[in-house]
């Protein structure tokens, strides 16, 4: 049975496959394995609001789950109402935003700095306590059956009382902002938390990319016909790349269009050493589903190699590629089978091989054929950017900043795959963020690393802006120098940077000109040099 599972928070969708008689517990274990979490902390729901109430050993069929269902999951014990839990009180979800913002940090045993909001929800025992947020003070108090726990929490927070007072004094509306700021501080102060957070995000993001889109769809349809036959696997991959280029499969013996991602019926059962596949484009298909012009591919299996000859029907030009079955097919196979494996490094060599295969088919077969077909029939040729060879596209992407590459990935299927190249992201990461030795060794999934580092910088930036804001409440915070990792360029500014020791005693400037001429002394200098 196959299921789609979607994270409630990140909306990330994964695919999970379980053996057919399967209990709820087995499914949880499978999902937990995928997202690298503990199955006990996993909550599942079909409708995003009610958790599955069945006993762990009950079979999925008896709960009413069928293959293909979309299941929502969360690690937040209070996100779904579970029937037994007391967490029905909707008011307790007022903290929603701040909870999800610092969710990952909270899982690292909710540091005191994260503030009470988080501590209250962090407890993983639903039913025993209800976090309640008082809107006036921005405080969250946990109602626990035994009162010692609460006392303990208060004493934990004891030295943070000042902060709470500040929150209380401020207007009610500023309170949520403060709690978010708190969570930033908590999450970004100690280096170890950063690493944990990164791992957590990597576990939640990604994996869906390990099987390239062009393979995923055709393999899903044709997996029964492949069955370990390597040259067939290769044919399926070439077919996938062709469909992705904009071609439509066409059954020349029956004279009809093939819907979806299938190959012509019975292609795998013929014993002929030469296979023929026909393709056309949607614009050349008549309403009665006959085809004006088409492209023919001839696939010749010669021992270790598969040769593919492509030509526009009626033209003499023949395009030709040779594929090494023993090299390409195992890579496709392992990427397809290793869908669930979380080890990025071993898969990356296979991913590169498949990318090379795709590039070869694209540059040497599908694109030239598409251009020739459109020239012959007078159709508009493929868009100019799409006609660039894959290497040139990569070269252009290499010259763009990371955020623009990510936007390019959202343009179309082709660019999505080109921009998923791990080496590209590794290069971008090293350009835009300082590399640590550990990261160099780890190598793989650089895009996720880049995105995480990016988010980190953004939060720091937000924190910086908050500090410079004229509210003034933050003077009582235990201030720390942020940014344990490089790039000091954007933490410049604010009185704190110029006068680290004086902050508490100085009135804050609200807008206006700087009180002191900037940069007449170094940021860490003592006041003596200032000549006061």
């Amino acid at each position: 049975m196959k299921f789609r599972v979607r994270s409630l928070e990140s909306k990330e969708t994964l695919k999970v496959e379980v053996p057919s008689p399967c209990s709820l517990q087995d499914l949880k274990t499978a999902i937990a394995h995928k997202i690298s979490a503990v199955s006990e902390s996993l909550r599942l729901s079909l409708n995003r609001t009610d958790e599955f109430s069945a006993a762990p050993h009950e079979l999925l069929q008896s709960i009413g789950l069928t293959s293909g269902d979309l299941i929502f999951y969360t690690l937040n014990p209070d996100a779904f109402s579970s029937g037994q839990a007391l967490a029905h009180d909707k008011s307790s979800f007022g903290v929603g935003t701040s909870v999800s913002e610092c969710k990952s940090a909270r899982e690292n045993k909710g540091s005191v700095l994260l503030g009470r909001t988080v501590v209250g929800v962090a407890s993983s025992s639903p039913g025993s306590e209800i976090p309640v947020r008082s809107s006036a003070s921005g405080e969250t108090v946990s109602l626990v059956s035994g009162s010692e726990r609460e006392e303990k929490r208060v004493s934990e927070d004891g030295h943070d009382k000042n902060r709470d007072l500040v929150q209380g004094d401020g207007s009610g509306s500023s309170a949520p902002e403060i709690s978010i700021l708190d969570s930033f501080q908590g999450a970004y102060d100690p280096g170890e938390k950063l690493v944990d957070m990164e791992i957590d995000q990597v576990a939640l993001v990604g994996k869906s990319d390990s099987v390239p889109g062009f393979l995923k769809k055709v393999l899903k349809e044709e997996v029964d016909n492949v069955k370990g036959n390597h040259s067939r696997l290769l044919i399926v991959a070439v077919h996938g790349a062709f469909l992705e280029s904009g071609f439509v499969g066409f059954d020349s013996t029956k004279g009809c269009i093939i819907d979806g991602f299938r190959l012509p019926q019975g292609w795998a059962s013929t014993a002929k050493p030469v296979q023929r596949m026909d393709y056309s484009v949607p614009a050349l298909i008549l309403p009665n589903s006959s085809v004006l012009d088409s492209v023919a591919l001839k696939v010749v299996s010669l021992g270790k190699f598969v040769s593919i000859y492509g030509s526009v029907v009626g033209n003499s030009n023949v395009f030709h590629i040779n594929l090494d079955v023993s090299e390409m097919a195992p890579a496709i196979d392992s990427i397809h089978k290793g869908h669930g494996s979380s080890d990025g490094t071993s898969g990356s060599a296979d991913e590169k091989t498949v990318f090379e295969l795709w590039k070869l088919v694209k540059d040497k077969l599908s694109l030239p054929l598409l251009i020739e077909l459109s020239e012959k029939t007078g159709l508009a040729p493929p868009p100019c950017f799409m006609r660039l060879p894959v290497d040139l596209k990569i070269h252009i992407l290499e010259c763009l900043p990371g955020s623009d590459i990510a936007k390019m990935a959202c343009v179309c299927l082709d660019l999505k795959y080109v921009s998923s190249n791990d080496d590209l992201w590794k290069q971008k990461y090293s350009e835009e963020f300082p590399l640590t030795a550990e990261e160099v060794v780890k190598g793989a999934r650089w895009k996720e690393k880049f995105a995480n580092a990016w988010e980190r910088e953004k939060m720091l930036k937000a924190m910086e802006q908050r500090r410079e804001s004229p509210l003034g409440f933050h003077q009582n915070f235990p201030m720390r120098r942020p940014v344990p990792f490089g790039s000091p360029s954007f933490i410049i500014g604010g009185d704190y940077d110029r006068l680290p020791g004086l902050l508490g005693g100085l009135p804050f400037r609200i807008g206006g000109a700087p009180r002191f001429p900037p940069r007449r002394f170094s940021p860490h200098s003592s006041l003596g040099q200032f000549g006061v």
């Binding site: 990330e12 100019c384 799409m386 955020s403 623009d404 936007k407 179309c412 910088e457 953004k458």
Partner: protein, 177 residues
């Protein structure tokens, strides 16, 4: 002066059949042609199959200019040699008014003919066109069809959501969402 010996002419034929006659030194700016000429495997007309005439004209303009720079700098040592700034300005002028489809064709041509300088100019131009644009703007600029299914598009947008939010390096822009 080497010019007297290099008066040999080379004929190039574009994909649409137009024949261009250029000095050998000009043709040799393109590494691909240089290799062919040095191996003497191109005596009559060299077909440049993937480059149309208007594009080939532009490419030849570039090559002629390169020959002019290199010959003037080798004979008179310094005065005519361009500074870095002048080179940049010249490159910008050369690429001025080039639209996206011409640019792509120029890229393909310089890639095929292996003219590194022109390729770099083209890539720089391309980067400046793409930078800071949102996916739909990029699609509009290059006439690219959005071939994602709605689910796929949602997925890829979610995966790359970080890039769409206010970024720390650039000024805040109006959001496309």
């Amino acid at each position: 002066m080497s010019e007297s010996t290099e008066k040999k002419m080379v004929r190039l034929r574009s994909s649409d059949g137009e024949v261009f006659e250029v000095e050998e030194s000009v043709a040799k700016v393109a590494k691909t042609l240089q290799d062919m000429l040095e191996e003497d495997c191109a005596d009559a007309v060299i077909p440049i199959t993937c480059v149309r005439a208007p594009i080939l004209t532009k490419v030849i303009d570039y090559c002629k200019d390169q020959v002019m720079i290199s010959s003037s700098s080798s004979t008179t040592n310094n005065p005519n040699e361009r500074t870095e700034q002048e080179r940049k300005a010249w490159g910008q002028k050369f690429m001025e008014g080039v639209d996206s489809s011409t640019l792509c064709e120029l890229l393909v041509a310089s890639n095929f003919l292996n003219i590194e300088g022109l390729l770099n100019l083209g890539v720089d131009k391309m980067v400046s066109m793409i930078q800071g644009k949102y996916p739909q703007e990029i699609r509009d600029m290059f006439n690219v069809v959005n071939d994602f299914t709605p689910e796929e598009e949602e997925e890829i947008r979610n995966q790359n959501a970080w890039a769409f939010e206010r970024d720390p390096y650039y000024k805040k822009r109006s959001s496309s969402k």
